[in-house]
Symmetry: C2
Subunit: 238 residues, 2 copies
Amino acid sequence: MDRKEDQPDFEPIVTVTRAEIVEQRIHDFLKKKKLKPGDPIPKETELAESLGVSRNVIREALSRFRMLGLIESRKKRGMILTKPDIMNGFERVLEPHLLDRSTLLDIFEMRLVLEMGLAELIFIKKTKNDISTLERIVRNAPSLHDVRFKLEHEVEFHSKLYEITGNETLHRFQRLLLPIFQFVTQEEAHLNKPPKTGIVDHPQLVEILKTGTPLEFRQGMYNHLEPHFEWIAEQKKI
Amino acid sequence: MDRKEDQPDFEPIVTVTRAEIVEQRIHDFLKKKKLKPGDPIPKETELAESLGVSRNVIREALSRFRMLGLIESRKKRGMILTKPDIMNGFERVLEPHLLDRSTLLDIFEMRLVLEMGLAELIFIKKTKNDISTLERIVRNAPSLHDVRFKLEHEVEFHSKLYEITGNETLHRFQRLLLPIFQFVTQEEAHLNKPPKTGIVDHPQLVEILKTGTPLEFRQGMYNHLEPHFEWIAEQKKI
DNA sequence: ATTTGCATTATGTAGTACATAACTTCAATA
DNA sequence: TATTGAAGTTATGTACTACATAATGCAAAT
C-alpha cells in the first residue's frame, strides 16, 4: 500500500543560496540607509568582506539589481543607485507560453479592468489634439472584411486611449500586456467563432469623448467590450 | 558662458556586459525552443562553452532568471524552467523613495483606474459570502474620529473588493501598489487638509453591490474616489 | 529484496589573476 | 596659461581553478 501515511511529513528543508541572502541584505541596506538615485553604494570588495562571502556571490546578487535597473556600475567610479524602470522586471517574464492558463486569464481580465477604468482619466486629460488623432485613426480603419489589419487597427485605437491619459507607466503596462491579450483572444476566437463584436464601435466611442460624459463613456466602453465579459462569465461556470 | 552648446552631443557609447548579452541569448533560446515549465535547460558548463564565456558570466545571467522565478536549479539534476511568478520582478523595485515623483503619481493613477474598472468583474464573480464579509467589515469600521485604524479599515475594505474578483494576479498587484498609494495619499493629505472624503461611503457601496447594477456601482465608486480625481485634475494645472 | 555505501555529476562558493576603463596627478609643450 | 600626454591608481569585468555540497544511480552487503 501507500507508505506515505507512515512517514512523518516534515517540511522540506529549504536551502537558500548565499546570493539570495546577499540580495536581501543589500536591499535592506538601501532601504534602511534611505539611499536615493545617484548615491554611491559600497564597492564590491567592501561588500564581499563585510558580508563575509566571496566577490563572486556579491556579483550574482548585484547582477539582479542591475537587471532591474536599480543600480549602474562604471569602472573605477564604482556603483550608484539609479531610478529603476519599474516595468523592467515585468517585461522579461511575460512570455505567454511560460505562464499557466489561469495567470493568462488573470492578465486578460486586468486589461479589461484597466480599460473600463480609463474614462475619468481620459476626460480629465484629453485635448483637442487627442480627439483629432482618434478621428484620424477611426477614419483610416480597415474595412470589416479585411482581417489582416483588423488587429493592428484595434491595437492602435486602444493604445491611443492609454496615451491620452498622459500616464506613461500605464501606457507602458498596456503595451507589455498586449502579447498576452492577443494570445488569449486568439484562443477565445477559436472557441466561439465568429468573433462577436460589441454593439458600440470605435467611432461611437470617439463621439462620446467629444460630446458625452465619463459616465456615458464608461457604459459605451462596457458595451464595446461586452463580448469579452460574456466570455469571462462563461469561463467561470466551467 | 555655458560651453555646452559648442559641444556636439554624441550618443554616449554604451558598453554592454557579457552577462547582459548572455541573458538575452538564453532568453531567446527559451523562447525559440518553446520550452515549457518543467523542461530542463543546458548545464552551466555547456552554456559557458557554447556561448564562449566563463561560467562566471553564465551564472550572473542565470542569477537574474532565478530571481524572477523563471528557473530553478538543483544540484546534480541541473536546471529546469519554472512557472514564473510575474509579480516577482515588480516587487523588488517598488520602493517609494527610489521612484521619482512622476512615476509615483502614475502608479497612484493606475490604482484609481483599476478601482474604477472593477465593477463588471465584481458583479460577475460576487457571492453571497463575499457580501457578508463586506458587511462585516463595514460594521466593524472605526469611528470617524479614530484616525489610527482608519487607514487599516480603508485597506481592508478595498482589498476585499479585489479579492472578490477571484483574480489573484490583480489582487497581488493591488497589494504591491499599496505602499505607493499610501505614500502619495500622505503627501496629498499634507497639501489640502483636512482630507476630503467622497460623498459615497463604504456602506453605500455595499448596498449597491447587493441591490444595484454595475453601472450604479461604477458611479458610486467614482463618487467615493472623487476627491482623488479632483486632486489629479489640480496637479495637471500645475 | 532492502539497505548501505561509493562513484558520479552539476550546482554553489571561494579565491586568484588579469583586462579594461575612468579618474588623478603631474610634467611637457605650444 | 591652457592644452595635451603619460603614468599611476582604482573598481569593475572576465577567466580560470579548486573544492564543497547535494542528488542520483549503481553496486555491494546483509
